[in-house]
Assembly symmetry: C2
Homo-oligomer: 247 residues x 2
DNA sequence: CGAGAGGTTGACTTGCGTCAATGAACGTGG
DNA sequence: CCACGTTCATTGACGCAAGTCAACCTCTCG
């Protein structure tokens, strides 16, 4: 459904098994909140299609823009980027979703997927057939209230995204990205982040990968950013703000 | 509630009168769709606070970010910009809303207004107390379904906004803005637009007012854009696309 | 008619994109 | 296990698109 001239992405997830919804604190807290265990059980038994859990490797596609599978996904771990492609086939990251977020919600309204969802690192996610949501709706009319809150949350995030990550100079954007990522991933209250770099960061901030690299290099040079391991870094929050604010 | 060092905006709307909801095709089509006249009547009678219609002059503020009046607004005519202010007090337009759009929906979820809403030209809008919506909810549990669709629509627009108006060169952004405005305002199928210029356009596209001015001047010079009257222009859609695509 | 805000235009400067070369990381096959 | 290819990150040199600064014009409104 996407243009094939694009970079090749892996496409086969591994099915981990049926989801243990009763034991899944994420679903409980998030999508099915305010349901009792009994209600949840009855719904799960009522469906013919199971809720499966899948694991995806880096670069795997959960779904493509324009597709119309009857399912949404709830991320259990990892980061998923929702992207669209510009006319020149370059990738633009529209949103970045983390554990406990649900994606593909537009299918509930009958729209095709609005983005292509790609795992940034290793990801596990539950595939929830839309039938489940329809049952939920039937059982609990106020269910849509819940869903609405999620839409609203996503929208607020989109606004912040525009304000923080798509405004100002390269330095400001990169600085904001670091703060934002550390917020998102909530790596404890410690000032550490799993950092997006290169192409991914560039596609979020609408700048080039080279600019990202240069800026991160400068931050390391200034000792505002220190490497820990892998993609993990710690940073000096105060100095980072100053760096961003300095003309 | 906003930083007062900012440009002064007029703040007093004129109350036009109680809204004639039964005769208001906008509300019918949009927010209260799928309600019968009888249902609508019974709801309107049930509320203590009336639905008033106001007219705002250019620059008037419908509400401020952070405020918590118990009302949403449905725009009946004109354009309203939803803005936030960057640390340096410069204005950034997050969304542009037109007739038949509803704004301030976040109040339904109990959040404070997420933006400051400012009339771009003359605007008329109905102020709908939240109580009305709660009654609607009580009468029609599936009401939230409707609201959810609106959230989703806004979100899709936000995505397009990022893709079209906040990507690429100045020329591309301005070109896209023209197309987008002509879409939004649907000035018949003819290729004409009420054009945003200067500061407003700049605040949408995240470029400077000078860049906007220069680009529009060039478009006029190339005869791709022709002045009609006031802020209305007609344009050559095909030539405009070529202009945007040319490196 | 004057003041003030916003739009236009020109000259200058610079941030950042482009291009290109090098290096590091990873996977594959011999 | 090492050699090789592929992909992505890094670094430098260069040029241009667009921001900045400033002068001037236009419109509106008191």
């Amino acid at each position: 459904m996407k243009q094939g001239t694009q970079k090749l992405y892996v496409d086969q997830p591994a099915r981990v098994g049926h989801s243990q919804c009763r034991n899944c604190n994420i679903l409980h807290e998030v999508l099915f909140s305010d349901l009792t265990n009994n209600e949840l059980d009855s719904i799960i038994q009522g469906i013919y299609e199971p809720i499966d859990e899948f694991s995806y490797e880096k670069g795997a596609v959960l779904y493509h823009e324009g597709d119309e599978d009857d399912a949404i996904y709830t991320i259990r771990s990892g980061l998923v980027k929702l992207v669209r492609y510009l006319p020149d086939n370059s990738e633009r990251i529209i949103r970045l979703m983390k554990g406990a977020d649900s994606i593909g919600l537009e299918r509930v309204l009958g729209h095709t997927y609005g983005h292509t969802a790609i795992a940034i690192g290793p990801v596990t996610a539950c595939r929830i057939p839309i039938g489940v949501l329809q049952l939920l709706d039937a059982e609990k009319p106020r269910f849509y209230r819940q869903l609405m809150e999620r839409w609203a949350t996503v929208l607020f995030q989109a606004d912040d995204y525009i304000m923080m990550l798509l405004s100002g100079t390269v330095k400001q954007r990169v600085a904001h990205l670091i703060e934002w990522l550390s917020d998102i991933t909530q790596d404890s209250d410690k000032h550490s982040v799993v950092l997006l770099k290169g192409k991914n960061a560039a596609a979020m901030l609408d700048i080039t990968a080279e600019s990202v690299s240069r800026t991160l290099a400068e931050l390391k040079r200034l000792n505002i950013l220190r490497h820990l391991d892998g993609d993990r870094y710690e940073y000096d929050a105060k100095a980072l703000k100053e760096y961003a604010n300095a003309a």
